[in-house]
């Protein structure tokens, strides 16, 4: 099926979606680690618009944007179990929730993590409201994609590890077990999947990184006010 390379950073949750997808499909690929403070000329060539990871290279042609890459992988390696459902309405619904995660859930939680004081207090409300909506999506299901694991689990998967990291480094508690029993139950099932279990970046390294990132954001914000 051709030569496959993945440009990623060790820590990017968006790139991790692609790692999971490639491994789940049993696709042989080469990893190229990027340092975003010192981007390679190849990354800039393959993703001139956003200059970001992940970038998938398939037979030397680049595909960018994690959700676009996921659908590309699903359509190209289509003899193994599909991530997205066949039915157009179910697909449209999955795409809607993927966009909701990327546009609302991630940004609202990030905001709560990267702020402090009154600003952080104000940010927690919207983050929890978005998580309420996520919680509702899991009612009556094992996984976001339904009975079995699929596309939406790859999209929401970051919650199973990174949310805890953001809570710890941001000094916030979001995933309360009384308010979010379904998310917590899903988290256990998701983390049990062998490909997922073996792919998480080192937790201590993530804590250090997100601690530093928060400090950087706070000092930048202070400097510009």
């Amino acid at each position: 099926m051709g030569e496959v390379k993945l440009f990623r950073t060790w820590s990017s949750p968006y790139a991790l979606r692609i790692v999971w997808a490639l491994k789940l499909k049993g696709i042989v690929y080469e990893t190229i680690y990027e340092d975003l403070a010192n981007k390679s000329s190849l990354l800039l060539e393959y993703n001139p618009v956003h200059k970001k990871v992940p970038v998938l290279l398939h037979n030397r042609t680049p595909i960018c944007e994690s959700l676009v890459i996921l659908e590309y992988i699903d359509e190209t390696w289509n003899t193994t179990a599909r991530f997205l459902p066949e039915d157009p309405l179910a697909r449209a619904t999955a795409r809607f929730w993927a966009k909701f995660n990327d546009d609302r859930v991630v940004t609202s939680i990030f905001r709560a993590y990267v702020t402090q004081g009154a600003e952080q207090e104000e940010a927690i409300g919207p983050a929890l409201e978005n998580l309420d909506i996520v919680e509702k999506q899991l009612i009556g299901k094992n996984f976001f994609s339904g009975e079995s694991f699929g596309f939406l689990d790859l999209v929401f998967g970051w919650i199973a590890k990174y949310l805890g990291i953001l809570e710890e480094t941001g000094g916030i508690k979001l995933l309360d077990e009384d308010r979010f029993p379904h998310i917590l139950a899903w988290k256990d099932k998701f983390c049990d999947i062998p490909v997922i279990k073996e792919s998480w970046p080192d937790r201590e390294k993530l804590i250090t990184k997100f601690q530093l990132m928060r400090e950087h954001f706070i000092s930048t914000a202070a400097g510009s006010s």
């Binding site: 398939h58 595909i63 659908e71 590309y72 359509e75 697909r91 449209a92």
Partner: protein
Amino acid sequence: MADEVKLHGVTGSPFVCRAVIALNLKGINYEFVAEDFSNKSADLLKYNPVYKKVPVLLHNGNPILESLVIVEYIDEVWKGVPILPQDAYEKAQARFWAKFMDDKCDPAIFKVISSHGEEQAVAEAHEALQFLENELKVKGNKYFGGDNINLVDIAAISIAYWIGAAEEALGIEVLSKHKFPKLTEWSDNYVNCQAVKDSLPPIENLVAFLKKRFSKAE
């Protein structure tokens, strides 16, 4: 059983227009349900509780939300006049550029309009538009989709029509022929496609709407 198709929307929205173009391109019979944002219909709130926004497509009572998701849905359900390419890589490219419109171009265009052409906003919009200008230059085609319009052309309707209307309404310049010759040429061709022509609100109405919505408070 005949398909029942409804589209909840407002004529002033380029996002609603994307869905209208897709429906007209495929020759689908549908009912347009005009929404009033100061008095949203019970159906809109029921079918889009998360965002309470338009467009909302209802197909046999099932809601589909988000304009680009709606356009892909229409393409998958109604065959004939393809909106997305068949080839997986070409499809990925189309989705990439459509997402670029959503994430970068349309917000930048909105900032230009709401700021009445403030210098920094225009510079950011130009930066985004330049990528699309280059894409047309490199591919050398009539449309982003080649000889026929595709998902990217549909996604980019705000460039082809809303920018011009805003320029007239607010006395600003955003898309000059000199700076963006390819986008200008593409716009002229694009708005004259029958399916697109049938989907656009009359320019005077759009100009009046934008003037009213974005007039500076005195």
